[in-house]
């Protein structure tokens, strides 16, 4: 303890005793020599004590407490207290502001929730799309952002929402495309609507339904979701209408490549088999998919080409609300995370503003990249200098992708190679056991090795996942541009911030 108080030791205890300072520093341990000095204290003239002090001294309160004088805590305590109070202060201030901002926006839209609604009427409903952030195992991050910052205002305004999430890359794109295709099928009369929904009392005629949908909106959280959504949109409106069972197609394709074929000389055993089955490296490119022959149409599905050609115009889409979102991951982004933790009010404000603009519902046309500029920028200028349009929404967020995500294709390739290297041995075991060529060993009895069927199923599952991941990554990766089709030009609209005079309170309270 003494080491912390260098000043104390500058007056060593050898000082003459009686004229002691009246208030020696407390907490100082008494050394033996001082004890004797204290013993002589009775000779010093008695201190004048106040009445209260006298009274209190008889109450049993320790006299040391009564003599206490206020003083600054020690240096270390000061450091500790100031640090803690600063951090806590930042935190508390931030959360107070968050609550305040949220409350303000909620107050502003609350009147919308108080209107009466008939039992068969429907409230406004928006669809929310989120997608997996590259490199983050937690695929739900973008929708978490939505739930935390945008949703409260929507709930207060009684806007219903449906959240759609892509758990893996490309899932959202596929889903969007499938949805569009099924709608097109309905519209073309290939499918008929389900009789159950037809019988519901809340059912609306299709045009009414469509009107309702247009009155709603689409919320897209983050750049990856935007890219996937646009890719899905393009795919859905340009592909044919046949129902494609991707799993079935892949199974057929895989059954051709002969990895499960019997080796010519089965007697030679596993070693030979393993070399015989070393997979040739598969060079996987997105083009490979394009070059594959289109699967044959399913039986009973003869869609006339007039219905099957992609339409030249696309019906109007509900307006989009693009919510910028960055998911900080990785060690290098820890400072940003910290900064973020103490500045949630900015996100709350951004989210609430976005929700507010959706609720107010003012829109503007999508600022589409014109054909010339796109052509021009493709050839000459680097991407960064391209004139910005709405298609560049939140593009800066791509700089925050983890660097390791760019190695995704390689990782998939590695996993695939590893799997196929291990496959022949497993296959040999499975076949030997199935044919009764050898007995189950003790371990195998406890944990039976996969049968050939299981191996096939596993392979199909893995291949499907690898291919889809890669396909999705091709959509999301920073080098790929947002899918664009000139048919989109007039159908996309964006919600805009309402004019500033409608929000007088917010400009000055930040």
């Amino acid at each position: 303890m003494d080491g912390d108080f260098p000043n104390e030791d500058m007056f060593p205890a050898e000082e003459p005793g009686p004229p002691r300072p009246k208030f020696e520093p407390r907490f100082r341990t008494l050394r033996p020599r001082e004890m004797s000095v204290n013993g002589a204290e009775g000779d010093v003239k008695p201190r004048k004590v106040s009445g209260i002090r006298t009274v209190l001294s008889y109450t049993g309160i320790p006299p040391s407490w009564l003599d206490k004088r206020p003083k600054l805590p020690s240096r270390n305590w000061l450091i500790f207290l100031s640090t803690v109070s600063t951090v806590a202060g930042f935190y508390i201030y931030d959360r107070q502001q968050c609550k305040k901002i949220k409350r303000e926006y909620i107050e502003r839209v609350k009147h919308l929730a108080e209107e009466p609604l008939g039992t068969l009427e429907r409230p406004r409903k928006v669809t929310v799309y989120g997608a997996k952030w590259p490199g983050d195992e937690d695929y739900d991050q973008s929708l978490k952002y939505f739930r935390k910052y945008v949703k409260p205002v929507l709930v207060a305004a009684a806007v219903d929402y449906e959240m759609i999430n892509g758990k893996r890359h490309g899932e959202l794109a596929r889903r969007t495309a499938d949805e569009i295709k099924s709608r097109r099928r309905l519209a073309a009369g290939i499918d008929s609507p389900s009789p159950y929904t037809e019988a519901l009392p809340t059912r609306l005629p299709p045009d009414e339904e469509y009107k309702q949908e247009l009155a709603g909106g689409i919320v897209i959280v983050g750049r990856p979701a935007f890219k996937e959504f646009m890719a899905g949109l393009q795919k859905g409106w340009s592909e044919g209408l046949e129902k494609v069972d991707a799993e079935e197609d892949l199974a057929q394709e895989l059954s051709m490549d002969g990895r499960f074929d019997e080796p010519e000389v089965p007697e030679e055993g596993i070693a030979v088999e393993a070399t015989a089955f070393t997979p040739s490296p598969i060079v996987f490119s997105p083009l490979q998919h394009l070059n594959q022959p289109k699967p044959a149409k399913r039986s009973g599905e003869n869609i006339s080409s007039s219905l099957n050609t992609p339409p030249s115009t696309i019906p109007l889409l509900p307006p989009l609300l693009l919510v910028p979102f960055i998911d900080y991951i990785g060690f290098t982004q820890v400072p940003l995370m910290l900064w973020d933790f103490f500045n949630q009010r900015h996100k709350v404000r951004a989210g609430a503003r976005a929700a507010y603009s959706l609720i107010i519902g003012e829109t503007r046309p999508f600022d589409s990249p014109s054909a010339e500029t796109r052509l021009f920028t493709d050839i000459t200028t680097p991407d960064n200098e391209a004139p910005s349009s709405d298609i560049d929404f939140d593009r800066s967020a791509e700089a925050y992708y983890k660097r390791s995500t760019s190695a995704l294709a390689g990782e998939i390739e590695k996993a695939r190679t590893k799997f196929y290297e291990a496959l022949p041995a497993k296959l040999a075991t499975a076949r030997a056991l199935a044919r009764g060529e050898r007995e189950y060993t003790k371990e195998e009895n406890e944990r039976p090795p996969p049968s050939e069927m299981e191996l096939r199923a596993e392979r199909l599952k893995k291949e499907l996942r690898w291919r889809r991941d890669l396909e999705g990554w091709e959509i999301v990766k920073p080098a790929t541009k947002v899918a664009w089709d000139d048919r989109f030009k007039d159908i996309l609209r964006l919600f805009v911030d309402p004019p500033s005079e409608t929000e007088p309170t917010l400009s000055n309270d930040s």
Binding site: L112, A113, E114, E115, P116, L117, G118, T119, P123, V155, A156, A158, V159, D160
Partner: protein, 100 residues
């Protein structure tokens, strides 16, 4: 009930008392589920001020979501319980069956 009981006693009636029991149990389950749902969604969504005879927009959206969530969870829990029940039945035989 007496009519049904009599129907069960006659050999040609085709009413199986076991099935009746099952149906009664199921009806109880469904009623119970419905009552729970109503009470919890009511507690969650509807303010006790009762200013208006009709539901307002906020309340109806809330109830929509609440009911959807409730039945979704019910479905999931039911599936889980069924799986567990099936597993327990297959593992421990008929004796280990406990009322789910």
């Amino acid at each position: 009930m007496s009519f049904l009981g009599r129907g069960g006693s006659t050999p040609t009636g085709g009413v199986n008392p076991e099935r009746i029991d099952m149906a009664v149990t199921e009806l109880d389950t469904v009623t119970d589920f419905f009552n729970r749902m109503v009470s919890s969604c009511h507690a969650k969504c509807i303010s006790t001020r009762y200013a208006d005879a009709d539901l307002n927009k906020g309340e109806s959206v809330c109830i929509d979501r609440c009911v959807a969530k409730f039945s979704e969870v019910q479905k999931k829990v039911g599936e889980k319980l069924q799986n567990r029940g099936a597993a327990a039945a297959s593992a421990g035989g008929a004796g280990s069956f406990t009322g789910l």
